[in-house]
């Protein structure tokens, strides 16, 4: 399917109308996308053997360049070559977000191989509430882009169509004539509308309906709120053909609600700031395929043993292409259900469900509901916060649950409260609750960074996973 997408690329060499010639980073991207087109059909055993070969190459680099990883390996009595098999890899204890946070600079590789640079930093708040900074190499970003191309192909997206994207950290609504690079350099794309994710739902619905997109990129909880608003108020988006969801768990009710109301396909992906897109929904079966060319997946039960198809377990992922931050056996904090072979014939491993990562909408006393921007990236600039969770218990009260390195001063509390009020755009009362080691997890061990515990007046079950 990527093949049919790639057949439409345009080149970037002056004067060459045909054939499409590409140079520079775009050439690397399309070459890799072409490679991924072939690799997805390899037999599972072949994919696994290539993954472990790549893992050994990565581990050999990381042992030499990351003091933290060298320590992890030494403590487990392992050499890089030992990671060349599932059994060897399991001897390495999993890596928690907090370990990354606590390792500081010693986590990262001091040097990266020639050709992997430059490095960019991604700050991720994560669904488990512990912010970390991941350095991503140019190669790892290249994979991200190539997999985005695969996402376009698998979802059979109309690139020439109008697209609306709901995004965090935007100052306001933006409309651009195309989807932006790299996709707009390779294809003639339609226009793009970007809307801040903390936009009030009625306003969101109005803005989207006015633009009338062909495809909509949105988080599941926002999608559900949008769908309910549209249903209640008769708002229609007549041109909509495809909804792409990401960043949160897409629950079956949210998917079914959107598909039946908007009469469109909903295609989901599993992504994170640390790892990029780790899994995509299969265009044929609807199951999730791991992006094995860059992510090695393990699904572990409570005892740390590998799950069998049908079992639910912790998702432990290894980024095979990031030579700047060794995310090797990284515990994502998410849960998934292992699938069997996919009927599509692709050799990429399968998850039948991805659980966890549900966030709720904030509800303001004036009735506005939206996805809150919590500005968690700045907490650590104000106070020694290790973990956070925001709970809306009452209509005008937010509870800030914290694990801290040392007690906060009054000034630090005031600063945090002000930051939070500013971030969510409403003068809530803020209460602080402190925990010793970690904030208690909900049922099934799941953690949600923001949780609204108010009863839902619309009778829905927004955001419950």
């Amino acid at each position: 399917m990527t093949e049919s997408l790639l057949s439409g690329i345009r080149g970037n060499i002056a004067g060459m109308a045909w054939p499409a010639l590409l140079t520079g980073p775009l050439a690397s991207l399309v070459a890799l996308a072409g490679e991924l087109e072939a690799s997805q059909w390899l037999p599972p055993a072949e994919i696994e053997s290539r993954q472990y070969r790549q893992l050994v190459a990565l581990a050999a680099h990381a042992v030499a360049e990351s003091p933290q990883f060298a320590r992890r390996m030494a403590e487990a009595g392992l050499a890089p070559a030992d990671l060349g098999s599932p059994v060897g890899l399991r001897r390495l204890p999993v890596l928690k977000r907090r370990e990354i946070q606590q390792s500081g600079a010693s986590f990262y590789c001091r040097k990266i191989p020639e050709g992997h640079g430059p490095i960019r930093e991604t700050r991720t708040s994560g669904s488990t509430g512990e912010p970390v900074v991941i350095r991503r190499s140019a190669v790892s970003q290249l994979f991200w882009r190539a997999i985005s191309l695969r996402f376009h192909a698998w979802s059979r997206r109309n690139l020439a169509g109008r697209c609306t994207s709901i995004r965090a950290n935007l100052p306001g609504v933006l409309v651009q004539p195309d989807w932006g690079p790299p996709i707009s350099r390779l294809f003639e794309t339609g226009p793009l509308q970007s809307i801040p994710s903390n936009t009030d739902v009625p306003e969101l619905a109005r803005t989207i309906a006015a633009f009338d997109p062909d495809s909509l990129v949105i988080m599941p909880s926002t999608l559900d709120a949008l769908r309910r608003h549209c249903a209640r108020n008769g708002v229609t988006i007549p041109g909509l053909r495809l909804i792409l969801t990401m960043s949160e768990t897409l629950t079956p009710p949210v998917r079914a609600g959107a598909e039946s109301h908007f009469q469109v396909r909903v295609v989901d992906c599993y992504s994170s700031g640390e790892l990029g897109i780790a899994a995509l929904q299969c265009p044929e079966s609807g199951l999730y395929h791991l992006m094995s060319e860059t992510i090695l997946m393990e699904l572990l039960d409570e005892e740390g043993k590998p799950c069998r198809p049908g079992d639910t377990g912790r998702l432990v992922l290894t980024d095979l292409s990031n030579f700047a931050s060794p995310l090797i056996r990284y515990d994502t904090g998410d849960y998934g259900e292992l699938g069997g072979a996919c009927p599509c014939g692709r050799g990429l491993p399968v998850l039948s469900r991805i659980r966890g990562r549900v966030r709720n909408l904030l509800r303001r006393p004036d009735g506005q509901r939206y996805w809150p921007r919590l500005e968690v990236d700045f907490y650590r600039e104000l106070a020694p916060v290790i973990e956070h969770q925001i709970i809306q218990r009452e209509a005008d009260l937010l509870e800030m649950r914290l694990v801290v390195e040392r007690p906060l001063t009054e000034k630090q509390e005031t600063d945090l409260a002000e930051l939070l009020r500013h971030a969510v755009s409403y003068p809530f009362r803020i209460a602080f609750t402190y925990y010793q080691r970690e904030i208690p997890r909900g049922p099934g061990g799941k953690f949600e960074e923001f949780l609204c515990l108010l009863p839902d007046d619309a009778g829905g079950e927004a955001g419950k996973g």
Partner: protein, 448 residues
């Protein structure tokens, strides 16, 4: 990165183009032609602005670049001969070349007249050349991990490498490579080849024939040889069949030149020659300059669609070809049934008739101990038979050979004999032509 491969700029460009060409070869012929016309207008627009010579050519024909976007418009542009390029000098080349097409390289192409022409080729030309090279590997089922030997024209010393070198050696695990200078004595070539035991041999047709004959005479064999790739000279059916039978190997040919790179590759299914339409637009024209129909034989006129440094637009390299209909393989790339070499390889009868002579060389050795031959028409009614022989010929043998040749060409020419020690002298670029007409003619041909 052990897997999957992540490629930096030049190799990534090649990999992307190769994939693109995997697809484009299957486009319908009409679609290919439409894309070629669009690209031709782009190259002509650039050339009209940057090459004084091309601007003059267009203006003299009363044309603007967009006129070349149709077959009728293109036909109104007079063809460009090798001599035109020689005479145009620096005004022929584009003054500026888009940055993304740089750097430039020079390709000198030898001519039979001893007047080489120099063509500037761009990084884009080079990229397309490499992609076509990759295509040839795929088409001909070449074993990249195998041992490859080539007889090199520009090689001065024996070359041995553990792999094929860039770009193939960077993209694939390739086997070892042996390069033998074409000036090496045939017996020594055979000895080196037998010692190396190649899987693939890249060679000029007449050199191949000499190797085959030597092996046959001396009882040597190249037992590992599976694939023979020929280029640069016309591959006659006799040479092809003899080599395929003797070595029990597949033989594939390509049509290339220093000016245009590889312009056509032999189809792996049909044996026809597919024009590399992604970079070359080919016309086959009859004596009146009108396009030939499939089955028709005519002058080959080529346009390089991707060279933004040297406008080779409607360039006549001096070769003749027979246009074929659609190829049974299903590829949309135009097909040529035969490429017949240069006009200098055409026999001219005193009454003005012209044709490619059948020389019937298979029978020469039945009549006399001939090691090598070449037939040269130096006067309208005289054919000179240049020979290397194993022992001096008798008068009877000379008379029999002369009779056989007269019969083969269908005219009672006078026949003269000239004998050489070792080998018959090669032309520029070490190319060998079994028949050469030296009578003066307009727009003389050149190298292949």
């Amino acid at each position: 990165m052990a897997w999957p491969p992540v490629l930096g700029a030049p190799l990534a460009s090649l990999a992307v183009l190769a994939r693109e060409m995997e697809r484009s070869q299957w486009l319908p012929q009409a679609e290919i032609e439409a894309r070629q016309r669009r690209q031709l207008v782009a190259v002509a627009t650039h050339a009209a602005a940057e090459s004084h010579y091309f601007a003059r050519r267009l203006a003299s024909a009363g044309l603007v670049p967009s006129d070349l976007g149709t077959p009728e418009g293109l036909h109104r542009l007079p063809v460009l001969g090798r001599r035109d390029i020689q005479q145009a000098g620096a005004s022929f080349f584009c003054r500026t070349v888009p940055e993304s097409h740089r750097p430039l390289s020079e390709s000198r192409s030898t001519g039979s007249t001893g007047h080489p022409i120099t063509v500037q080729r761009t990084a884009v030309s080079q990229l397309l050349w490499s992609a076509i090279n990759l295509r040839s590997h795929l088409w001909w089922g070449r074993n990249l991990a195998g041992r490859c030997a080539y007889i090199g024209v520009y090689l001065e010393l024996l070359a041995r490498q553990p792999h094929w070198g860039p770009p193939m050696g960077r993209l694939f695990e390739t086997g070892p490579l042996l390069g033998i200078p074409i000036t090496t004595d045939i017996a020594e070539q055979v000895r080196l080849l037998a010692e190396f035991d190649p899987d693939t041999l890249v060679v000029y047709p007449n050199n191949l024939d000499a190797i085959r004959r030597h092996c046959q005479r001396s009882g040597s064999s190249l037992s590992g040889l599976r694939l023979i790739l020929t280029m640069a000279e016309a591959l006659t059916p006799e040479i092809r069949t003899a080599a395929a039978d003797f070595f029990q190997a597949r033989v594939f040919d390509c049509y290339s030149s220093g000016e245009l790179g590889v312009a056509a590759l032999e189809c792996p299914e049909s044996g026809l020659y597919h024009v590399m339409a992604e970079t070359v637009l080919a016309e086959v024209l009859d004596e009146a300059g009108a396009p030939c129909a499939p089955g028709g034989m005519g002058r080959l006129v080529l346009t390089d669609l991707s060279n933004f440094a040297t406008p080779l637009i409607r360039y006549e390299p001096g070769d003749y070809a027979e246009l074929a209909g659609p190829c049974p393989c299903g590829r949309g790339l135009p097909a040529l049934a035969r490429i017949l070499g240069r006009s200098r390889n055409i026999l001219r009868l005193p009454d003005g008739r012209r044709f490619w002579p059948r020389l019937n060389p298979i029978r020469y050795r039945d009549l006399a101990p001939i090691a090598e031959y070449q037939i040269v028409q130096s006067e309208p009614d005289l054919l000179e038979m240049k020979l290397v022989v194993e022992s001096p010929l008798t008068a009877k043998q000379e008379a029999d050979l002369a009779d056989l040749l007269r019969q083969a060409v269908g005219h009672p020419f006078r026949i003269a004999f000239t004998y050489y020690e070792g080998e018959i002298p090669r032309g520029p670029g070490r190319k060998f032509e079994e028949f050469l007409c030296l009578l003066p003619e307009e727009g003389e041909g050149q190298s292949r």
